[in-house]
Amino acid sequence: AKKFAVTEGKHAKFRCYVTGKPKPEIVWKKDGEPITAGRRHLIFEDREGYYTLKVLYCKQQDSGLYVCAASNALGNTLSAVHLSVKGPAVRFR
């Protein structure tokens, strides 16, 4: 899977374009576990029709393999990326 990195404390936005009819059901997973929407995890369809997962205020433990799984009556498929959360940049004086 492709690798992406974000800085600790920032938001990570995952966007995935999905097609299929009937409209597929989408499940976002991290390391195999389904993600439920909550205070730090927003799940929505954005204005351009991309399925979006937003992880707010990333922590080190948000690093891992993220999967967007789509299924409808005709089948299922998924896309995956690896996220790593880097520690905040150290300032040199």
Partner: protein, 238 residues
């Protein structure tokens, strides 16, 4: 056959199908067998199953009803029964099947297995307090003694991500707003309300919410009286 029960309702049709509700309409039976019709019951059945479920608990007087609680993407057929003081009619002929989906989704013809593109990850700077703005153009699109249908437009750009809605009602002349969907906010910009007190007049307003919080309410609607401008459909030939 119950002695004196009305004939079956006619021409059951579906209008305004979307993923939140389907508005079912019909015509009164040709025969009311001498006593007037007290109302109707609408039944639904998911295509491919044989299970008929009754949609309304109390009889509907007006020959039009928004059926809610449908599963998005599934297809349904509907039938209607009429009731008078002697009893219930046979069910009508069933409607054409209709899918609980938004017109834009229906327009994309055919079926296809899902396909997912590459996931693109971007880093975003946290912005404090992205509470969404007000929804606008809130209107009452239908009002009868059984239900009211509202629709509105989403807020502007500010904090629009993951926006959902809370609907509030208020008896006209008072200032006590009550949240209607207390449990779960709705995702689409429309709502069908039931269980309003007949003869009372209500105003409605809508608030947006997202992870950051609940926004300011929209402008309230004009007062809407619960009762039928559209009363019991008159029997044919009258």
């Amino acid at each position: 056959e119950i002695e004196g029960a009305p004939g079956a309702p006619l021409d059951v049709c579906c209008q305004e199908a979307n993923k939140d509700y389907v508005i079912v309409t019909w015509k009164p039976p040709a025969m009311d067998r001498g006593s007037s019709i007290l109302g109707y019951f609408v039944d639904r059945c998911e295509v491919g199953t044989t299970h008929w479920a009754q949609c309304n608990d109390t009889p509907i007087k007006f020959a039009r009803f928004p059926v809610t609680g449908l599963i998005e993407g599934r297809s349904y057929i509907f039938r209607v029964r009429a009731v008078n003081k002697c009893g219930m009619s046979h069910p009508s002929r069933v409607s054409e099947p209709v899918a609980a989906m938004d017109p834009a989704d229906r327009a994309r013809k055919g079926t296809s297995a899902p396909w997912t593109g590459q996931i693109i990850v971007t880093e975003e700077e946290p912005v404090e307090g992205e509470v969404p703005g007000k929804p606008h153009d809130l209107t009452v699109t239908e009002a009868t003694r059984n239900y009211v249908v509202l629709s509105w437009k989403p807020p502007g750009e500010r904090g629009h991500e993951g926006v959902m809605y809370y609907v509030e009602k208020c008896v006209s002349g008072t200032d006590s707003w009550q949240r209607v969907n207390t449990e779960i906010p709705v995702k689409s910009p429309r709502f069908a309300l039931f269980d309003l007190a007949e003869g009372k007049s209500y105003c409605f307003r809508v608030r947006c919410c997202n992870a950051a919080g609940v926004g300011e309410p929209s402008e309230p609607t004009e007062a809407t009286v619960v009762g039928d401008k559209l009363d019991i459909p008159s029997a044919p030939g009258r």
